[in-house]
């Protein structure tokens, strides 16, 4: 067994679970704003007013009998994603990339019948994936066509960019790449690769999988050292605007880059995980304290982003 001493962790400024919950989430996130981020449908509506784009909404399945409509709509689609509106941690998300006869093809390449998809919808409506087991609605979204410059790093699935927004300031970011282990999903605890991104430039720093440092993607074999995210400042600004839209002081913003539509907001998270620190090789605490110590916060998203790029950039 290998351990790290608490003193060393403190020196590195690693934010831990208990402190995140007590000092940041419960202090900066108002309870009443939670439904905004816990329900993807509400998130879509809330952020659209602030000029933050999201994947196109194709259908909302609210009732059991509406599932039959789903079959008709899905008939004409090449690719789509089914998501539970109140799902968390990527649970219950099924991504369909194409068709194979009567069956649909999942992002992983596995085939799935319409009946299976309908069962999945039933499960979503019954609240199997929702946070408290309450009844839920299913949303069907247009499939995101990830920009090839990033998509090539990912094994199937769509790479997304997680940015931690603290009081409107982007404090840390990482690129999440799906792997064979993660079944096309970009969740780190399921085995996705996390690549730390420099806030100043959008260039990659370190990469981890299952909390262990790596240099090459385990499935695509590509080096993860010199990834550069295009139009980085715009993405940060878009993420920063979510603060105005939701009022949440501490949240994770998940973005994807679509070939045609550019950066899109995938979802917001009021309880973002801590693995981003491993991907960046740095603790969150010094940056969070830097923002907390600001005497005069900046009011526009652009000013905040510029301050953060200057304060937290490494290159």
């Amino acid at each position: 067994m290998d351990w790290i001493s608490p003193r060393k962790l403190k020196k590195l400024g690693i934010l831990n679970m208990n402190r995140r919950n007590v000092d940041y989430i419960s202090r900066y996130n108002e309870r009443e704003s939670y439904p905004l981020v816990d329900n993807k449908l509400k998130t879509k509506l809330a952020v659209s007013e602030y000029g933050v784009k999201t994947p196109e909404l194709l259908q909302v399945v609210r009732q059991q009998h509406e599932i039959s409509h789903f079959r008709e709509i899905a008939e004409g689609l090449a690719g789509f994603a089914i998501k539970p509106a109140k799902g968390s941690g990527g649970k219950g998300i099924t991504v369909i990339t194409g068709r194979d006869g009567d069956d649909y093809v999942k992002a992983s390449g596995a085939r799935i019948s319409v009946a299976m998809l309908e069962r999945h919808l039933t499960n979503i409506l019954a609240g199997l994936y929702s946070l408290a087991g309450t009844p839920d609605v299913a949303i069907v979204e247009d499939l995101v066509q990830s920009t090839p410059s990033l998509a090539r790093y990912s094994f199937q699935g769509v790479p997304d960019i997680r940015i931690i927004i603290f009081q409107g300031y982007p404090v840390m970011a990482m690129l999440r790449l799906a792997t064979k282990d993660s079944d096309g999903k970009a969740n780190l605890h399921q085995g996705a690769v996390g690549v730390g991104l420099d806030i100043g430039t959008g260039r990659s720093l370190n990469a981890v999988q299952f909390n262990r440092p790596i240099t090459l993607h385990p499935d695509t074999g590509l080096a993860l050292e010199n990834i550069q995210i295009d139009s980085w400042e715009d993405m940060l600004e878009m993420a920063s605007r979510c603060y105005e839209a939701t009022g949440l002081g501490y949240m994770g913003v998940d973005l994807v880059v679509d070939t045609q539509k550019g950066p899109l907001l995938l979802e917001l998270n009021a309880r973002p995980g801590l693995a981003i620190q491993m991907a960046n090789g740095e603790g969150l605490l010094p940056r969070l304290r830097n923002i907390e110590a600001l005497k005069r916060p900046h009011f526009s998203p652009r000013e905040r982003v510029q301050y953060a790029m200057g304060a937290f950039g490494k290159f």
């Binding site: 351990w3 060393k8 007590v22 039933t122 019954a126 620190q277 090789g281």
Partner: protein, 505 residues
């Protein structure tokens, strides 16, 4: 976005913990509820035996019994006397056991038993009225002798107590003078002493006491002298002039005039037997609590059935404390926050090993059946409902099979909360589909580990004893849980999780 000072919070928690501990300590001191289980206290069992011969007529026998002997408290009282009506009659200043029977003939024996607990705090009951010395009349030449002796004693003393001591010393056989020899004969010594003290203006009376020695039979009462110093009654040994009541002396009669009155019988006499017993300190405390009203704060006055329910209920906070500690400080992952506590409660009823086997087999069979259910494409609510019914089938099946095979422990499966098990199976099954078998093993074994820890803590006799007899200690548990809610340090599991960060140091 409010940053409040934590000081009031910590003060509040401190207050909770201090209140819990001090109430428990007070209960320990005041009611004698022991900290540990199995503590024993000595108790004196004293049996008064009354013998008399009936005279073919209605009989009424009245025996003085102690009301509040100094240094002792009465635990139980009972009379054994077949065919007699019995009651305890309390009049001002005296308490008497009264036996009655319409037709009595021949030798009769009556018993009265009482248990006395040594109790330093038990004193004489406060008297509102100060007694007056009874006036006495002396004839010559006694009057002169009494005056002379009292003058001598008075000269060498300064207070009622010292006067009494001097008087006793003067009346002792070895120091007798002409005056005292005139007054005192062996059989009237104590009566004379009482009369002389009353004459001197000091209220005095006699008292009967028992010397407590283990396993003695046929003991007689010994006479003692009591004087009132204007404040309270003081006891003197009339032979040695020693003041005070020794530890092994039980004052059976004080205040009242007669020890035994028998109407309708003759040849009556009283003798005493005694035995030193030990009783669990807890039982003593329970009995005392019921008597003196402080017991309102405990559970002893509830019906037994409710008491045993509370016994179980009061263990839950211990389990909650363990779960909070395991999750917040250690960082064990469990499936369902308090599922481990409920499983631990079931373990308390089933004992550990049979409980573990039963639980694991129910969950394993449930998971297999759930696999079939998931292919049926059911709505969640009906799937859970079906699962609950299946879980009941499984437990019933296991109980019957276990019973037929001769394992009575098979029956204990029924203690598990069915709904919780059904949900556990459902959650495990989803976890299996989504995160793989490894996560199921991690969370499953984490839950079991926490459940076993909670079980071990809840199952110690000390935990059961303290939580039930000192319910206020739950304030301390509450305080600790609140404190843990403010713990922002690293979990033990995080020290391992963040190990790769060493590379960036």
């Amino acid at each position: 976005m409010t940053v409040r000072s934590r000081a009031p919070f910590y003060a509040f928690v401190l207050l909770l913990i201090a209140a819990g501990i001090s109430i428990a300590t007070w209960r320990h001191i005041e009611l004698g509820v022991p900290w540990m289980t199995g503590e024993q206290r000595p108790v004196w069992m004293i049996e008064a035996r009354v013998d008399f011969v009936g005279q073919d007529e209605a009989a009424q026998i009245s025996l003085h019994i102690p009301e509040q002997p100094p240094g002792f408290s009465i635990l139980t009282e009972q009379a054994a006397s077949p065919g007699y009506g019995f009651s305890i009659i309390e009049t001002s200043g005296s308490r008497r056991a009264e036996w009655t029977k319409r037709d009595v003939s021949g030798p009769q024996t009556l018993y009265f038993k009482a248990q006395f607990v040594p109790d330093d705090s038990a004193g004489e009951s406060a008297r509102s009225r100060k007694p007056r010395p009874t006036p006495t009349f002396w004839e010559e030449p006694q009057a002169t002798a009494v005056r002379e002796v009292l003058r001598q004693a008075n000269e060498r003393s300064s207070s009622p107590e010292s006067l009494t001591r001097e008087l006793i010393r003067l009346l002792q056989p070895d120091s007798r003078t002409q005056n005292t020899t005139l007054l005192v004969a062996d059989d009237n010594y104590l009566q004379m002493l009482v009369r002389m003290l009353n004459h001197a203006g000091i209220p005095a009376r006699t008292a009967d006491a028992l010397k407590l020695e283990d396993a003695r039979r046929r003991q007689q009462l010994m006479q003692f002298l009591q004087i009132h110093n204007g404040d309270r009654w003081l006891t003197f040994d009339p032979r040695t002039a020693e003041q005070g009541v020794p530890e092994n002396l039980l004052l059976w009669r004080q205040g009242s005039e007669s020890l035994l009155d028998v109407v309708g019988g003759d040849n009556s006499q009283v003798s005493f037997s005694m035995l030193r017993q030990t009783v669990p300190a807890l039982q003593l405390a329970t009995l005392e609590a019921n008597k003196n009203g402080l017991g309102v704060l405990g559970f002893y006055q509830l019906p037994i059935e409710e008491q045993s329910m509370f016994r179980m209920l009061l263990l839950l906070p211990i389990g909650a404390l363990i779960v909070a500690f395991m999750r917040i400080v250690i960082g064990v992952r469990t499936s369902g926050t308090f599922m481990p506590v409920l499983i631990a409660v079931a373990f308390v009823q089933t004992t550990l090993v049979p409980g573990l086997i039963a639980f694991l087999s129910v969950v394993a069979i449930g998971l297999l059946l759930r696999g079939y259910l998931s292919s049926l494409n059911l709505l969640l609510v009906s799937r859970i409902s079906a699962l609950i019914i299946l879980v009941i089938f499984i437990t019933a099946g296991l109980s019957i099979i276990g019973y037929q095979m001769g394992f009575n422990t098979g029956m204990t499966v029924t203690f598990f909360p069915m709904v919780i098990i059904a949900w556990t199976i459902e959650r495990m099954s989803i976890l299996w589909e989504e995160e793989g078998a490894r996560e199921v093993m991690v969370q499953g074994s984490g839950s079991l580990f926490v459940a076993i820890c909670a079980y071990l803590a809840m199952n110690t006799s000390l935990a059961g004893h303290l939580t039930f007899n000192f319910p206020e200690l739950h304030l301390v548990v509450l305080g600790l849980i609140l404190l843990m809610g403010q713990y922002t340090g690293y979990k033990l599991s995080e020290l391992r999780r963040f190990t790769p960060m060493k590379a960036y140091d």
